[in-house]
Amino acid sequence: MQIEELDQRLERLTAALAHLLAGEFDAIPITPSVVDDLLGSVEQTVQHLVMDIKTVTLANRDKEAVLLLQQQQLEQQVRELAARAETIEQQAAAIRQLSTPVLEVWREVLVLPIIGAVDTARGEALMTDLLDSIARMPTKWVIIDLTGVEFVDTHTADHLLKVVRAAALLGVRCMLSGIQPAVAQTLANIGAELGELATERNLAEALRHCLRQLHNL
């Protein structure tokens, strides 16, 4: 082999290895014919190395691209879920507000109609809303109407009594109306202390009671 040819082949090998290290696979010439000599076997080995590394590198790039795509998809899903959660929270807040309306039915008389069960969260919301209303409006009586409550448990009774006591601290008297037979039975069974509370069969009677008290009739 001529020195000149040897130089050229070594230069090609060096260039191939440099491109390989730089990840510039397209710049590496891959030729099927390899000269059958000692350097030829080195050239063939380098060629195999180039193909193997190229394959693994591109496969890894694919995996990275895929991971990026998956990450983007996950981020998009997280954004959508967060937006959905925010909507749900807004709706829940609206429902909470609607579920504990405080109505001024007469001057200095508020009605708190309760429908359904009162859990801790709703009990707290109920108390907050009522105390806010008492602070905003001149109030002497609050009628807690239980016509829409078919079932009470210890927790519900506790929440109601807390509301009553909190209102009393602001100088407001409370009374219950519309207690259903099943509710009355439960309250009696669980020993709820209702002695401090006036009760009436329905909202109309309760309102009449309040008006009598207000006007000393």
């Binding site: 193909m51 190229k54 591109l58 496969a59 795509l69």
Partner: protein, 247 residues
Amino acid sequence: MATIAQLTDPDLLALERRMQLAVHGATSLAAAAQTYVQTVYAALSDSLVLLRVFATVPFGRLPAVNQAFVRQLAATVPSGDAARLGDETLVLSLLGSAGSEPDWCDPSRSRGHIGIPLLSVEFIDAIPMIARLLKQLGVELDWLGREDTAVVGKTFGFQSGVFHVAAAATAVDARGRKIISAQDFVSRYAIETVFGLGGGYVGTPVFVTIIGFCRDHLDAGRVEALRPHIDRFKAETVGLVADGRVF
């Protein structure tokens, strides 16, 4: 010449490299696919009866002759699936073919498999082998009908997988249908095992699939050993796909 089952690890590696060297420099994905099947079939013709390469290509990017074939095929389908055929519909297109019959050595001479339009889940499900092939290769079908050609690349293109029907003559799907429905072909050529290798080009709608019909029995591990073919084939053709040089 050895059968696939007899290949040692160095044999497998040598074949992979030979194939990659042959595919290197192809001017289109179809040319690369044809070179691939010719090279591998020449090396494994004791085992292989037929070796084919398919790829998903949007209908609008198919040559006119392929479009005509696909349009005709879609028209034979009951229900309204034919109406879904549009430029964006992905078509599992035959790009390379080599086998023991002369007609099998040129994709353009295929009578029935030039292109299978992926029209709907129901349409694909009616072709048990394709349904199982796509499922095993990790291509879910729920995107069909969304008319989003990028969905394969975006959602499934990264997945490479292996399809394997060990006993082509007897294997049935969950509904009791023969997975390889062309049983006349299976018995005439004594097909024992059918395998597939698949992989997608990330970010493109192109998913390439190699399908081999063998006369010797291959277990799952042996088919798995052929999986690097997909990575090597993709390494040499990723640029072609990126440039849109499919045919």
